[in-house]
Symmetry: C2
Subunit: 301 residues, 2 copies
């Protein structure tokens, strides 16, 4: 959620009882520091920073996060094993995002305090395994708490994640469509309008596939991939496109990062209302489940 996950949203989520996360994305370290200060100004609850390890500024962002003693750090886009001990020393809770069991085990050994297991239905960078099969396999493989990510937008998903053995969920696409998210209204409207099959994955040939809503940008990108464009050409083609979508609201030429759950997101609400609604829905489902299991069946086919 680079560009979209600023202090405004992080503070609102944390104030509502969630764990708000500032997305560092490809932003310079000074911007991240400013966002941390703003978040602290607007909330006294715990919050986190997501460090995108492929960012050219990743090293500097790590230093800022350490200096600022941010309560929680999550990492994406790579293997943070070498930096985990530094977070530990600083008393920072580290929860790397992984898309496979092997990396989850490796990072637990390296000192991760929790694992975010993210399925390939998520928006942005994706792995290969879907959330539903990934989460219980990660839960069985590690002892630290697991947070489920990819495909969550409501209380139904939260209860599903808890049933799979996760301790909570991470939601991205759902919170882009919050009042506090600074993303352009046209970006949010595209997510609200999206249906189940409106996302696509581009960049398999670059080794860093990304899920977004399908648009002119993804069609052009995928056509160039098919034509055998080099990784360098493709990287140039993708450069600045997320900012173009999130900040400028260019929904045709920008990169509209969103998950497959976009089809379920039908409104834009304050983060506080979203969290209250998700929790109330989850509690109602949990109260109803004992009746359900009587009639539930197992088919094979």
């Amino acid at each position: 959620m680079a560009w979209a996950a600023t202090a405004e949203l992080a503070a609102a989520v944390s104030n509502a009882g969630g764990l708000g996360i500032v997305g560092a994305g490809n932003a310079p370290a000074d911007w991240v520091r400013e966002q941390i200060h703003l978040t602290r100004q607007w909330t006294d609850r715990p919050f986190g920073v997501n460090i995108m390890l492929m960012s050219p500024f990743a090293k500097d962002v790590v230093e800022v996060v350490l200096q600022e003693r941010v309560p929680v750090v999550s990492t994406g886009g790579g293997n943070p094993a070498v930096i985990l001990p530094r977070f530990k020393q600083a008393g920072i809770i580290a929860m790397p995002v992984v898309s496979a069991v092997a990396l989850a085990k490796r990072l637990e050994r390296a000192g991760a305090d929790a694992i975010v297991a993210e399925g390939m239905e998520s928006g942005g960078h994706v792995g290969e395994t879907c959330t539903l099969p990934l989460v219980p396999q990660v839960v069985d493989a590690v002892r630290v708490p697991v947070v489920a990510a990819g495909g969550f937008a409501d209380g139904r998903g939260l209860v599903a994640a808890l049933a799979l053995g996760a301790q909570g969920v991470q939601m991205g696409t759902r919170f882009v469509c919050s009042t506090e998210c600074i993303a352009h209204a046209r970006f949010k409207d595209k997510i609200v309008a999206a249906r189940d099959r409106d996302t696509t994955v581009s960049g398999y040939t670059t080794g860093h596939p990304v899920r977004t809503l399908e648009n002119r940008m993804t069609r052009q990108f995928q056509a160039r991939e098919k034509d055998g464009a080099t990784v360098e050409e493709l990287e140039r083609l993708g450069e600045g496109k997320l900012r173009l979508a999130v900040i400028e609201g260019d929904t045709e030429n920008g990169s509209l990062m969103a998950g497959q759950i976009a089809g379920l997101v039908c409104d834009i609400k304050p983060a506080h209302d979203l969290i209250m609604h998700i929790m109330a829905e989850a509690e109602a489902i949990i109260a109803r489940l004992p009746q359900y299991v009587q009639g539930a069946g197992v088919a094979h086919g």
Copy 2:
């Protein structure tokens, strides 16, 4: 589950309280009739037949199913809208397998009694959307009961499906690794040994992608796809390969259809024991969930 889902397994599942399903696959109608008779011989409980609409024998299989008044029919590999009224007339419960919301709605209008919503983590033919985002979107779109499929192998998954609004789950890969399944021991052992990232999808260029365990066969197939092989060449390359794996136990040259949940399947047990274990696990989770929700959190990132 063509070749693997015979009367032996269907009867065992139905006897244990599940809904056993005979997979017609590409088999001739006479074989399907024989399997129906055998299933009836071994169980007096309801059971089903899955009709693979792309089979050259699909038309004849439909006639057999109608003549035999099989209690439940599921369909895969296409759009069964034109044949649904015939099942309805015969008093047969029809539950087509779909991978997208639009087809679910169309088939409900055409008379489907239930919808099996199958995510792309499943073994065999796959769509694009993962189970976790697909199921609630289908649940919201139709009034008939929804069965969740793709990514299920235990009680955790069953409770997750119920939380998402499904009325039950369909499990394929899990029941291949049952004592009663006639699949070759080497096929079952490959599933038991599989880890989270051991499946792969082949056949995107044919328009009918299939998920299997990765092996020599999939590497060859995908290399030919990359080289621009025609659909006809690829179809010839795939012909008979599922039978080769399931019946002959050729795990290198056969098509080892299995879902991403294969990594969770670690044993071979009688179908009865599997179902009892799944139900007991589900009940235990449901009993524990009220405590979980107190500590559960929502993060965004």
